[in-house]
């Protein structure tokens, strides 16, 4: 067996290397095939969706159908307005989490104070709490407060997704920041608030961007909250996509595929933008890339 050093940047041409390359490629075929296949399926017409596998005449009409009124008739869901709701709710939830979470993350990253660890733990436990435990009471409360099936209601409940992410990621960034920088600013006569805004905040900007985009992505990908806490007014994209498959009568595989791709596109694009900071965000600051 060929010996090789496992450190980064090591290359060696050998039988083992070729085998490893083959396995790598096989993995990526498995990982990417479903997305490629959805794209192909989304380009087929109603006849070819069930009659052919790879040979077909591509057409864009499925995307127009999904976004248009015909898709709405089939699924009783207006996909365009679902996209709008998703954007508003996820951006809103992320914004609230940032405004509220940045000070808390700064406090937890800078000082050790009584209760800070339990606040952080409480945040994290939300991330791992079974969603239905909260949804069932909210289902009752939302009807009472008229928040059921509203974007505001979604923003509230999505804090469960976005808040822990923002606070934990940014705490790790603030911990990384040398306190001497702020001390220098304070000695120069800056107030603490000004030191925070002019020194600390700009330095953690990559962290804020990563946390915000990840929060948006995970809020976008959430399903169980909008499934139960919204109806036709504030349906989100994830819920809308599943409706294409659920409709009785004829199955619209091609429309489902088109809707799925439309729903998947925003997170994919955003994720590629923050790839460098992704690992740290995904691990809540535990693993640095």
């Amino acid at each position: 067996m060929a010996r090789r050093v496992l450190g980064p940047g090591q290359k060696r041409v050998s039988a083992g290397g070729v085998a490893a390359d083959t396995v790598t490629v096989l993995w990526f075929v498995f990982a990417l095939f479903p997305i490629v296949w959805m794209f192909l399926l989304s380009l087929k017409n109603n006849v070819q969706q069930t009659s052919t596998y790879f040979g077909f005449t591509p057409t864009w009409t499925n995307y127009l159908t999904v976004l248009g009124s015909k898709g709405e008739q089939l699924t009783s869901v207006d996909f365009k307005s679902a996209v709008l709701t998703s954007v508003l709710a996820c951006a809103g939830a992320t914004a609230v989490s940032l405004v509220v979470g940045i000070p808390a993350a700064y406090a937890a990253g800078r000082w050790k104070y009584k209760g800070s660890e339990s606040l952080m733990f409480q945040m994290l436990s939300f991330r791992f709490a079974p969603e239905l435990m909260v949804i069932v009471p909210l289902f009752v409360i939302y009807h009472y407060l008229h928040l059921f099936d509203t974007t505001v209601g979604l923003i509230w409940v999505l804090q469960l997704v976005t808040m822990p992410l923002v606070v934990w990621i940014l705490r790790s960034y603030f911990q990384d920041l040398s306190p001497e920088l702020e001390q220098a600013a304070l000695l120069d006569g800056y107030t603490r608030v000004r030191a925070f805004f002019t020194v600390a905040l700009p330095l953690v900007r990559p962290g804020i961007a990563a946390a915000a985009l990840l929060a948006f992505i995970f809020a976008w990908n959430n399903y169980i909250f909008p499934l139960i806490l919204t109806d036709s007014n504030a349906t989100t994209v994830t819920v809308a996509v599943t409706k294409f498959l659920g409709g009785g009568g004829q199955a619209y595989y091609n429309l489902t595929a088109a809707a799925a791709l439309l729903g998947v596109l925003p997170p994919l694009v955003l994720a590629l933008c923050i790839q460098r900071y992704l690992v740290r965000g995904l691990s809540f600051g535990a693993v640095k890339s």
Binding site: A31, V100, P103, F121, M133, V136, T238, L245, V279
Partner: protein, 305 residues
């Protein structure tokens, strides 16, 4: 870790007591949101002590009758079994594959570097959409999988015998990149000297992997495993979109079961009881996780070791 020593940090004009409450003031908004979430959460725990359902107008406390009822129900234990089977299976497969993919990509060949750019794509697909996509591919008559794998029109991926494995397959597709990116980042942060030294000493690849890399990667793998395990215990969206718990009850996990009780049958108390039991399970695991995470975070921040 008290990062700022207060004597030098704060101007003398700020009295000590104000410096003391500063972190609390900063945490108030977050605390308010926590309370906003905690309230329904505690209501949920309270519901599990009531006989609350949509049809019941005289809600009264029944203390632990729900727990006795639910714990004596074979349906609960069935779904506990399904949940644990799903969680263990998915976590083990994802960890093994994820570590494998990370090792492959760590070779940094040209192919690897190109493909690494798209490694996280499946992870960014909403699990429910992933399940929908796979459901199209699983289709017995028109699905691509039976065609490509040469299984004809007879193999039913979502039948009684295969449904759970198919759901795990979707989970593996979505979340293996999660393990892989974490472990890959971990491997790359390891010091290179020990590996070079053992290479010079003529150690085999397997020996180096077992004796050097695995122990050094352990914290990263552990973080990934715990995240996966705890997410799997409350799995809902993949299964709901794929099988909705069926056929029969072969894929009915705890959250699917609670969903049926409280949302479909409007028995809020029964559903809450299920969730309370699951929450206890997750809470214990979360306590453990925080210790591991905090330690790993400190290591990442360079304040320890």
């Amino acid at each position: 870790m008290s990062a700022l020593s207060d004597e030098t940090a704060a101007p003398p004009s700020v009295p000590a007591w104000r410096r003391g409450i500063r972190p609390y003031l900063l945490s108030i908004p977050a605390l308010a949101v926590v309370v906003g979430i905690l309230y329904p959460f505690l209501s949920g725990a309270w519901y599990s002590l009531l006989d609350y359902s949509a049809g019941n107008t005289h809600v009264k406390s029944v203390w632990f009758a729900n727990f006795a009822d639910v714990l004596g129900d074979p349906g609960l234990w069935r779904s506990v079994g399904v949940t644990i089977e799903y969680a263990l299976l998915a976590t083990v497969v994802e960890t093994v594959l994820g570590v494998g993919v990370a090792l492959l990509l760590n070779r940094s060949t040209l192919i690897g570097r190109v493909l690494e750019k798209v490694l996280i794509l499946p992870l960014m697909v909403a699990p429910v959409i992933a399940a929908t996509m796979w459901k199209l591919m699983f289709d017995t008559n028109f699905g691509i999988l039976n065609h490509v794998l040469g299984l004809g029109h007879t193999y039913n991926w979502l039948s009684k015998d295969h449904a759970l494995f198919s759901a795990v397959l979707v989970d593996v597709w979505v979340y293996t990149p999660f393990v892989a990116v974490l472990v890959l980042a971990g491997i790359r942060s390891l010091p290179r000297e020990p590996f070079e030294a053992s290479d010079v000493d003529g150690a085999s690849w397997w020996y180096m992997f077992r004796r050097l890399m695995l122990p050094m990667m352990y914290p990263y793998i552990l973080v990934a495993v715990i995240f996966r395990l705890m997410d799997c215990l409350k799995i809902f969206d993949i299964i709901y979109a794929l099988t909705a718990g069926g056929p029969g009850t072969v894929t009915t996990t705890l959250q699917i079961n609670a969903f049926e009780d409280s949302i479909i049958h409007f028995d809020y108390s029964r559903g809450s009881t299920y969730m309370f039991l699951l929450w206890v399970l997750v809470f214990v695991a979360a306590r453990f996780l925080v210790g591991v995470l905090t330690k790993a975070q400190k290591r990442a921040a360079g304040t320890e070791g």
